[in-house]
Amino acid sequence: MGHLTANPVVDTAGDKTMILNMGPQHPSTHGVLRLLLEIDGEVIVRMEPDIGFLHTGIEKTCEAKFYQQVVPLTDRIDYLCPMVNNLCYVMAVEKLLGLEIPPRAIWMRVLLGELQRISSHLVWLGTHAMDIGAMSVFLYCFREREDLLRIYEMVSGQRMMTSYFRIGGLAMDPPIGFFKTVKKFVDAFPERVDEYEALLTGNRIFIDRLKGVAPISKEDALAYGVTGPSARASGIDWDLRRDMPYCGYENFKFKVPVATEGDVWARYLCRVQELRESQKICTQALEGMPSGSIKAEAPKVVLPDREKMKTQMEALIYHFKIVTEGFTVPAGEVYQAIESPRGEMGYYVVSDGTAKPMRVHMRSPSYANLQALSKMCEGGLIADAVAAIGSIDIVLGEIDR
């Protein structure tokens, strides 16, 4: 933030170019992103993102909290997929602790993680299409997102800031009728994707607006740290769920959509295909959902059941200890990376052996993907910059943290 003179966007060539300020209150910057554009007529000569307007110091706050108290903070990083953030954090701490998670909790995590991927991609699809000018798609997407938010509310009591995952398992067993509701949604979903595709994929105006716009090559995508669907659209065949499986993803069968063009259109196609693949993973998770406990056997880390706490002295003591002084985590450091809807989400947690993390760092995919935006847009038109911003699917909450 502040003034931006260190690599100044100034008029050096005389009177040919001018500076245009885009954001932070621009509707198609998807949050508080400010872009400085040096333009020559309608063509962008140089672009520079300016971030930090949403910086809340979450990484610093984490250092003052017990390990279990950090979970609600992680919701607020990427607010479009809070459970994926929960998952990454709790997996990092479980790795530090060496905890074994029961299968039911793992499968529930996969199911909810994929539902979150669908709802996050729906927000992307709706807003991206709206930026381009296709207003009605937004309404279709938010219709399904509403169903998903109800599902999250069923399971966690909250629509958005769910905080449902716990270190060592889940907060509580899903309610009666939960799987039926999810199944109904998942079964109906492929038809819904057909509806979106009917509106967009064959749409002449939409294609003309996206094809060949803001391309990035495979080499540049690697060099600029692009991950996720944006990287796969440039031909980088890399998905952490398939290539470095975590949280039981090795038990699921799904395809990883890859394209080679690297333009906005390829990114659109990859994400829409991912909607279908996520639906398949959800179906498999529902079919194979194991029964049993949703919490690990670790009384010093996992809160006891309410009923046990009221009837057993030992459980009451553990409950009291965890809530008042937390639990200690053996010293060490881990970097846990997972595939968030936007790319590689990584949590770097350093423990010094006390009950509070010494350092929590989030490697957020949007932060790295945003760096490639200038590379994509330079040489293109201003109107195409809007399409490019939508296509990398950034969330400013996780960029600024």
Partner: protein
Amino acid sequence: MALTPAVTDLDQLKDRPTISALLAWNQSAVQGANFDRDELSIYIARENIRDAISQLKSQGLINFLSDVTCADFYPREPRFELAYHLLSIPRKERVRLKVKLSGDDPVVESVMPMWPSANFFEREVFDLFGIRFLGHPHLRRIMMPEDWEGHPLRKDYPVEGFR
């Protein structure tokens, strides 16, 4: 999965491709290694970090820079530990290179000439920890306002602000 003790002996770890490559290149640059919780960390001397990453990249052992970050171990000296998270997509393997920096001279060479993605990562570390990266073309604050005093993620930063 119970925790197994960390392997910190360099001799036991020298069969790993990244470590053997670095040892063959410059034995004195490798200060130590650590294999803990399935993750490999290699401690590199401060003056060698850029060349070490460049070596690994040119030998094809890594091809992606995931993250650059830092942790402050105040009041211990050297207090800062920089962590470079590197990834090899073809080998499906991660490695973490670490550099220890003292509090009175927190300067290290930038890896931005090799990895344009280090731009934001290094700016963030500079902004929040006050570590300077030599050779970074526009090292300035990224999260905090330009006129902010101090570096918030340092452990001796007053959380209630300067009085």
